[in-house]
Symmetry: C2
Subunit: 586 residues, 2 copies
């Protein structure tokens, strides 16, 4: 087997004979001498073929093309003076080849693997095994491995036990859409692929394993976006006799260790803010805190104004908030601001009021209509100064948060306010337990109905119920979600009642879990960081496909193997199903 | 969070106050004093409730029942003289309780978890979370975790990279039955759950990852036996620039390390025998070498006998082999031997001839018919002595191997010849590449058609073709299977031709792999030890369900969650399928 890593050769190895393997990354034919960058997983070594020296083998060397897989034996030498390559770890040495063996040739490539040029994504995915040879992709897969290794080492050291839970599970009607698997033995019945190991990990707590983890594959049959894949992986954890502080401490320790080992960055402790605070400040429960520009309140300042648009909003129970774009007012023309208005309308806002402050005066349409004392109070309260742009939304709180939260991100990106080198982790806590569904006209569980409430006695005032749940957020992304679980059957019954779930329905949906909770269930809590998201953040990519060895397209296809594909009628017959396509006769 | 492991308390901890958590494993009420064995994952600690001391809390203590989950605070003390429990790691100490909190109560249990009595399997599986509390099951899950940890540490140290391959794959028509997953986005098309990551790991070699592993979930929709489950796990490996010696060395090192860390046994190097030798000696390609009693050849000795049953067998191209049951002839009465005859008939043998040697004479029907010089030669060749039983099958080689191989195991078990403490690992090498299918009247690939042949020039003489494949066998079980892969397209084309696979069919079935092999494919080889089998062997269980946290029954059902189950018509409609049950109108 291969004994050496090409990327590891150094000056100290000079003088010895080595047998090395790899791929021709590039070749330069200088007539009697051919230089080849020989690449393996570890890196590149320059190997040199010399006509005077190699005789017959030189013809073979002349036949080499990019991505030929070869084996060479030769002596490691120092490169000539001035010929060193400081960009290469092995740049001071080269291997003078004595023997060459071509292990396998390479046809004309669909794209060059040594260049990080713009490759058509569909072509890259079809030839994923070539795409994976590219340094930028390979590196991400290696980092993914390293992250898993560090996570496992860390959790093992803390006494966590990795336990595999089933992939062939029971379909549950809530949540996202399940992938189904027809059963051949129990015809007419179906397994579902798990959206998470949630129920199993809670049952492992009932079983007494106390500290569980699993780097667990999960599945969601959703319409895909650039950060979604049909299958994804979670660093799933659950612990007994634990509170949120324990979960935070374990998780934070793990993330810090991963970031230290992968990026050599020592992270500070993660700030914690409540859901309410996050919405007030950032208009989002997954705020990007790499830049300031917080949402500022104008409700009190503008209360009682004669401007109906503001006054009516307040009278209707709404709020008024603004963003102050400091010292960048000149970057936004009147028509730019009109575009921002169109943008906030996507989020339900009826409009975007704006003010500019310049030459020590407020400008803009509403500057003329707003009372001077209001403007002055605004200026004083928020230190408004020249070249500031103030963008205001007055509406129901949800709409104000959503529109200004999105606008904040948009402007942050437009003005390059975001330091891409930062890793801003933070905990969001105290989520509302219930969410009112306008369409269904009833209260629904915001997250997991099995999460514990901060105060079960408030169960009849759903709007006041806070869940003992938490999210770990990084750079504007939700990395992990978790909670302290409600393990008390009586309290669960109250929750189900508040959610309008009948005893019968509860039994059907959660029966075996409720049954399990009869037998000495320990208090427990957990979390599940998304592995892909973590790799993406640590490798600076926005595309989840970059961090999965064999990803699927947005239409959930594998272009390389052509999955999914048609199967034989016999296979379907055996499973007791048949196709039911509306466009069958097309 | 829980700070202490109940099983870890020792004399040196005496005198301090501790807060401990756990389950009431057993309680003994002695009137004013109640002793509780408080169990957690780590073990048991005796906690003592004293009426004089606890006052009101004592009533609470009196209410404790088995499997209540509690939290107690108290002082660790030495047990009284003579009251130590040498069977318990914590047997010298006990916790004198100052405070008790009942975290959750326990209903009447379907079975006692502290006793390893015979529990109805279906009940155990329905309440798997309670079953997992039993020491004997819990221990196996913990050992499974440990095995995975040791394997990962070992492979990581060797530079292997763990890479996740897809679960949603393409269905391929060969091999065992696929589990299918209907696609919602591509209606009428299906994913298949992978029977192994074989194709993906080979493509990872093409991609240049060189050393890959994955503790990988695999799926086979087969009719289940006690050692099969619909989903199972393999320690899947593949390496580039590697020969069989490299694979054997890596695998053997890993298994030795696992066995050392789990059982503190230092294994010797694994013997290697060829497939041919294994069949000749043991009648099996997965021989149990924990006992001798090899198959002995009688073909040459009996050639030319006047006994037609033997002579005809030889004339028809068959062979004659026997087992000599040493010094145990008296254990098998004539009717016992008749039962053995029935047994070998299961394996296609037409009969079982037998001889007994006793009082320095051969006895039995054939002793009268066989020539004396044949009997004498037999006796001399195989050192036959008094109280030996000789069991003979004359038939086609396949039938002789199968029947005597099975008989050898049966007698080995009956006579307790097998040392259950032994771990006999061995490599079986040089498998035949082709196997003649009597039913299809054609040559088929014995294993994987992508395995390299020892000599491709023999391709037109299929019966002579040896594969560069190998199995790792332990105690009569196939633990792992692997091979050096055929990475040369020209040679693969020859193999497909010999298998009667047209270019078109090859393209359809393996097209994207053949395409990948155009682009500088490295020589590579691999193996995939079965994790469940390894855990079973190291924990001395015959039942695969014991080593899986949430196993399925023989009818592939999860009795706990009731999977598989019916799903809604809407779910099916959305997937473009409908049920097609013959007994639909029942």
């Amino acid at each position: 087997m291969k004994k050496y890593n090409n990327g590891d050769f150094r000056k100290s190895d000079v003088g010895s004979i080595f047998e090395v393997y790899g791929w021709v990354n590039k070749r330069r034919d200088m007539g009697g001498v051919i230089f080849v960058d020989l690449r393996d997983r570890s890196g590149i070594l320059q190997v040199v073929f010399n006509r005077d020296y190699l005789k017959d083998d030189f013809k073979l060397a002349e036949s080499l093309k990019n991505e030929y897989c070869i084996k060479v034996t030769g002596k490691l030498e120092l490169r000539g003076k001035g010929l060193e390559n400081p960009n290469l770890a092995t740049g001071e040495v080269e291997l003078i080849v004595q023997n060459l063996e071509i292990l396998s040739e390479c046809d004309i490539l669909p794209f060059n693997v040594y260049e990080d040029s713009n490759i058509n994504e569909n072509v890259a995915l079809k030839y994923r095994y070539l795409d994976l040879r590219r340094e930028s992709i390979k590196e991400k897969i290696l980092i993914r491995h390293k992250i898993c290794k560090v996570a496992r080492d860390y959790l093992n050291d803390l006494g966590f036990i990795e336990i595999e839970t089933p992939i062939l599970c029971k379909s549950t009607p809530e949540g996202a859409r399940d992938y189904l698997v027809p059963s051949r033995i129990n015809k007419g019945a179906f397994y579902a692929l798990p959206q998470s190991p949630q129920i199993f990990k809670q049952l492992l707590m009932v079983a007494g394993f106390e500290k569980y983890y699993q780097i667990a594959r999960s599945f969601r049959d959703e319409d895909l976006r650039s950060d979604r894949q049909p299958e994804f992986t979670q660093i799933d954890m659950e612990m007994s006799f634990a509170t949120e502080e324990d979960v935070w401490s374990v998780t934070e320790g793990m993330i810090k260790k991963i970031v230290k080992e992968v990026k050599n960055i020592s992270l500070p402790d993660f700030p914690r803010i409540t859901y309410h605070e996050a919405m007030e400040k950032y208009g989002s429960d997954k705020p990007d805190t790499r830049f300031e520009m917080e949402l500022l309140d104008l409700t009190e300042i503008l209360r009682g104004t004669k401007m109906n648009v503001f006054n009516n909003a307040i009278l209707n129970g709404g709020i008024i908030k603004c963003l102050i774009v400091k010292n960048n007012g000149d970057k936004y023309s009147r028509s730019d601001v009109e575009h921002l208005t169109d943008f906030v309308k996507i989020y339900g806002a009826k409009g975007l009021a704006w003010l500019k402050y310049d030459n020590d005066t407020f400008n803009g349409v509403i500057a003329k209509n707003l009372e001077d004392e209001k403007l002055e109070l605004m200026k004083k309260t928020y230190n408004i100064s020249n070249n500031d742009l103030i963008l205001i939304v007055a509406d129901a709180p949800k709409i104000v948060y959503a529109s200004l939260g999105a606008l904040r991100l948009k402007i942050g990106k437009e003005l390059n306010l975001i330091d891409e080198n930062k890793l801003n982790f933070l905990w969001i806590t105290d989520f509302p337990f219930f969410e009112y569904s306008e369409t269904e006209k009833r209260w629904k569980a915001e997250h997991n109905p099995f999460t514990m409430l901060k105060d079960i006695n408030l169960i009849n005032e759903p709007e006041k119920c806070i869940a003992r749940s938490y999210d770990l957020v990084v750079n504007g992304y939700e990395l992990a979600s978790g909670g302290v679980r409600n393990y008390k059957r009586d309290d669960l019954a109250k929750v189900f009642k508040a959610l309008g779930i009948s005893d019968e329905e509860a039994e059907k949906r959660f029966g075996f879990v409720l049954e399990a909770f009869k037998y000495g269930v320990p208090p427990h809590a957990g979390i599940a960081p998304g592995l892909e998201r973590l790799v993406m953040v640590l490798t600076n990519t926005q595309d989840i496909k970059d961090v999965i060895a064999f990803p699927k397209t947005q239409s959930a296809s594998d272009l390389m193997s052509d999955a999914p594909s048609e199967v034989s009628p016999e296979q379907l017959k055996e499973l007791g199903i048949k196709l039911d396509l509306e466009e069958e006769n097309d």
